[in-house]
Symmetry: C2
Subunit: 351 residues, 2 copies
């Protein structure tokens, strides 16, 4: 280790995002991007903001965007926290709300950034196994903890936890913050944002990278009681005053304002997802029930590694996690109709 | 304090950026923004990037932008770290390079975010007084430390430390990282980037918010030995994989590629700064020698508070720090020719 590094740097195990290959003509189904582009009104709004004004700092508090999101979800502006993608929001959550000397709970199969945050901030993490059918069981979250976090739908399984079960976890842990990471909720799930008024310990995190087709713009947010949001604001304002640039703020507002585009593209993704799921089942895959914009599936006669490799050789990139319990699964992003057909054709040649 | 907050949140003292008032027709000389807009080629490059591609994640490593900056400064790509504004870069520096159990040294009068980072990461900070003429004396940095950081030119004084004196500090502390925060260096100073090949403990931090007129886009970077950059990459990749969005990456590259615009606008700012300095001296102000895009000045017969208030009443906003040693100074951003004339007219009415 370098003598210049803080001692903790040596111990970090950074998150590894899905690769962003620079080859042309790839069918890229590995990072859960939306097959549809953002609303044309997003492009218009960014174009309108694009000019000499870039010499000026953005609003550090993003008041206009907070107002738009607050109105959209019928909450107060003071209940909204904005960040540079939901990953930054999650980092501030771990730092500002999870350091209580007891382990933070999350599923054994889940978003692999959670243990990375624990490592970054020296927080103990404790995995809670999913059931044999890869579901979250609320009863398993009745144990001492320093906070709870899980995605809903879960990643990379795509499995959705019904809202009454989410509420059961929140209600059973009134002294700890429960974070529901809803990156994929708009593809068929119901948001827990409607519960934040009832539970001061509930924090819901969302992103504009998935259902709102803006992975390239880096905007995430959290919704919760003003008490929780205040902690995040204190951390953010001790870290970086201006995490969202002028163009991101303008584009994000427009994305919320064009609800027709949002609903139509979400329905388009859901329709394609169901088509892919049916075809996969016809090919003999076991397909977990997904409410996300991806499918998690395994084949009884082929390893995940072999299938991922075989797809890659045909120019189709999916994600494969070489981890316990899920090493035979593929996580397949729902692409355009053409991409999905190509995926199925390539799999037909393999299974 | 809320029972939900991590204990450290209560102790945080967040940074307070200069206000961004929303009133029209203000002469806003309080946040050191560039009076000139960004290069038209920046706008073109962002426009070219603006479209359906926003549905896709940006390159998490920003390789293309790193390549452009590396070529510009004749260093290797592996010597560049990118961040969401230099404030984020600085935060990762404090976390990844300054935790050695000894105090981090910085001037008593300096960028007020440094002690905030110390508070965020529980690092002891130790202020080193500037001389009576508000200069950094390299001899004062020969003492045990866990790292050293100072802006050059310093903020809010604008005073520039000659490169041989910067080098003296770096050379005297071979076992500790010395960070030169060059947010304002392009307005008449010489960058220490030319020294990074010679000193593995030297890290130079810059921003595109000032001389490159892109405060609204949020791009900062650091240049140093690959050993130092690796620590920052580990921290960044444990925090947020994609801190720079597609539009920021594209715009930042174009800003470095249009060197004519950059040089012309820097010269324009320098010319205006010198004009303002002369007029202030004619009005009886003591003006510290500035190599930044702002001026730090006090009047022997008027308090800083009274002058800032008097200017504000006339629609001119400058920054006033109610702190020891500098409470009678005004920090005045160099504006457009019209803004600067208006500033001087308003001051003529006050002194």
């Amino acid at each position: 280790m370098s003598k210049f590094w803080s001692p903790l740097v040596e111990k970090l195990t950074p998150y590894v995002p899905g690769e962003q290959p620079k080859m042309a003509n790839l069918v890229k189904l590995n990072t859960n991007e939306n097959p549809f582009g953002p609303s044309p009104k997003v492009i218009e709004a960014i174009t309108a903001e694009l000019g000499d004004n870039l010499r000026l700092y953005p609003d550090p508090e993003g008041e206009a965007l907070k107002g738009t999101i607050a109105q959209y979800y019928s909450v107060e502006k003071e209940q909204i926290f904005l960040g540079n993608g939901s990953d930054e929001v999650l980092a501030h959550i771990f730092y500002g709300l999870f350091q209580h000397g007891e382990p933070v709970l999350y599923p054994d199969i889940t978003y692999s950034f959670y243990p990375v945050y624990c490592g970054l901030y020296n927080i103990e993490g404790k995995t809670v196994p999913l059931t044999d059918s890869f579901e979250i069981n609320p009863e398993d979250y009745r144990q001492p903890n320093g906070g709870i976090i899980f995605p809903n739908p879960n990643a990379p399984t795509g499995c959705y936890l019904a809202l009454d079960k989410v509420e059961a976890i929140v209600a059973a842990n009134p002294d700890r913050v429960v974070v529901v990471d809803e990156a994929y909720v708009d593809f068929g799930g119901e948001s827990a944002i409607g519960l934040v008024g009832k539970y001061p310990n509930l924090l819901v995190c969302q992103t504009l990278s998935k259902a709102r087709s803006l992975a390239g713009l880096r905007v995430g947010f959290a919704v919760g009681s003003a008490e929780l949001i205040e902690a995040l604001n204190r951390v953010k304002n001790s870290f970086n005053s201006y995490p969202l640039d002028r163009l991101a703020l303008a584009g994000a507002r427009a994305a919320f304002e064009d609800d027709d585009w949002f609903r139509a593209t979400c329905e388009g993704v859901i329709g394609e997802r169901e088509w892919v799921a049916s075809r996969l089942e016809e090919l003999g895959f076991e397909v977990l029930p997904s409410k996300a914009n991806f499918i998690f599936a395994r084949h009884p006669e082929h390893t995940g590694e072999a299938l991922a490799k075989g797809l890659r050789e045909q120019g189709v990139i999916v994600r494969h996690f070489n981890k316990p319990r899920i090493s035979d699964f593929l996580r397949i992003t729902t692409g355009t109709a053409d991409q999905n057909k190509r995926l199925i054709e390539c799999l037909e040649a393999l299974v």
